[in-house]
Symmetry: C2
Subunit: 186 residues, 2 copies
């Protein structure tokens, strides 16, 4: 992301990379107007949609990891709560409405500067369909989850945590760090 | 933040605000090179530092809310885990080392597009001191917390959740949304 930063967003002058006074890391600083452009990790919010005992999975129709399976998840937008963002992703990726979203996992992925906030929630109906982002959508039993074709390690870990909580009959919020690249990240 | 975006970071041309093809929100798009600049919520990571039963608080030496009290917290940096970022903030704001950080609260604040990740952790020693960011640092008993002079509603809520868990003798991760502005945000 930051490799593309060559010009100041405020005045259009070429920027320099240096440590501003009182700071501790190099930033993109404009020598003309003094504007400092910061870059920070981004939040990916997602939801494991449930219909009775089954879980809704989507086959990705877009890169990266096209053709692999995921539950709905994507970048949190400005002025959006994490749960509202996850519900929006469910609409965009599988044309479903999900309610009663509960946070289940917070997964930090420093390698790619991302933090996943993974919820679970109830589908309003059993209906779902492919979208521009998903070539297929399926309600699957736990025993039928395609573990070898899950899109990202975060999705894999989020599903595992949820299933472990459900099996134990007790849900809590789990916090973990995932260090990519791993074998699962392809 | 995004109000300052008038020029393309990739080529320096003036940008337009419009919805890119396949997207659902207006973005800063460059008509010259096609670069799209995204802005997303930012993560503030913090830690409630503990020495025996006492809590370390810092009086802010910087804006916003200069002169009000907080525990160490600040923006998560690229390629940093939430707990590592919180430990860094403790060093920067109070010159302390904190270990065994545990996530306790995840607070979404959509009004300012921020998500707080609040941990608690153990100080390696009882030593601490003012810094460029803190005009005073104090180890305080729970009964002496200056609730009317806490810097932000998120800091207030994070402290309350931690103290409730500690009183109950059982810690978990709490997820909540805070909608600013409130009376506390003054």
């Amino acid at each position: 992301m930051s490799s593309e930063v060559r010009f100041c967003t405020a005045c259009g002058h070429a920027v320099e990379k240096r440590v501003p006074a009182g700071d501790h890391l190099p930033r993109h600083v404009c020598p003309a107007c003094g504007h400092v452009q910061y870059f920070n990790p981004r939040i990916i919010t997602g939801v494991i949609p449930l219909w009775q005992e089954r879980i809704l999975l989507c086959r990705r129709a877009i890169q990266p990891r096209l053709g692999f399976w995921t539950f709905p998840a994507g970048f949190l937008e400005l002025h959006e709560t994490a749960s509202a963002g996850a519900a929006r992703e469910a609409r965009e990726e599988a044309a479903i409405e999900v309610t009663d979203l509960q946070l289940n996992s917070v997964i930090t992925v420093p390698h790619v500067s991302q933090i996943y906030m993974i919820h679970y929630g109830q589908m309003r109906s059993a209906e779902h369909r492919p979208t521009a982002e998903s070539s297929e959508t399926h309600l699957v039993d736990e025993a039928k989850i395609p573990w070898d074709e899950i899109a990202f390690p975060t999705i894999f870990s989020g599903l595992k945590r949820f299933l472990a909580d459900r099996a134990a009959g007790q849900f809590s919020v789990h916090s973990l760090d995932l260090h990519w690249p791993t074998k699962k990240s392809g």
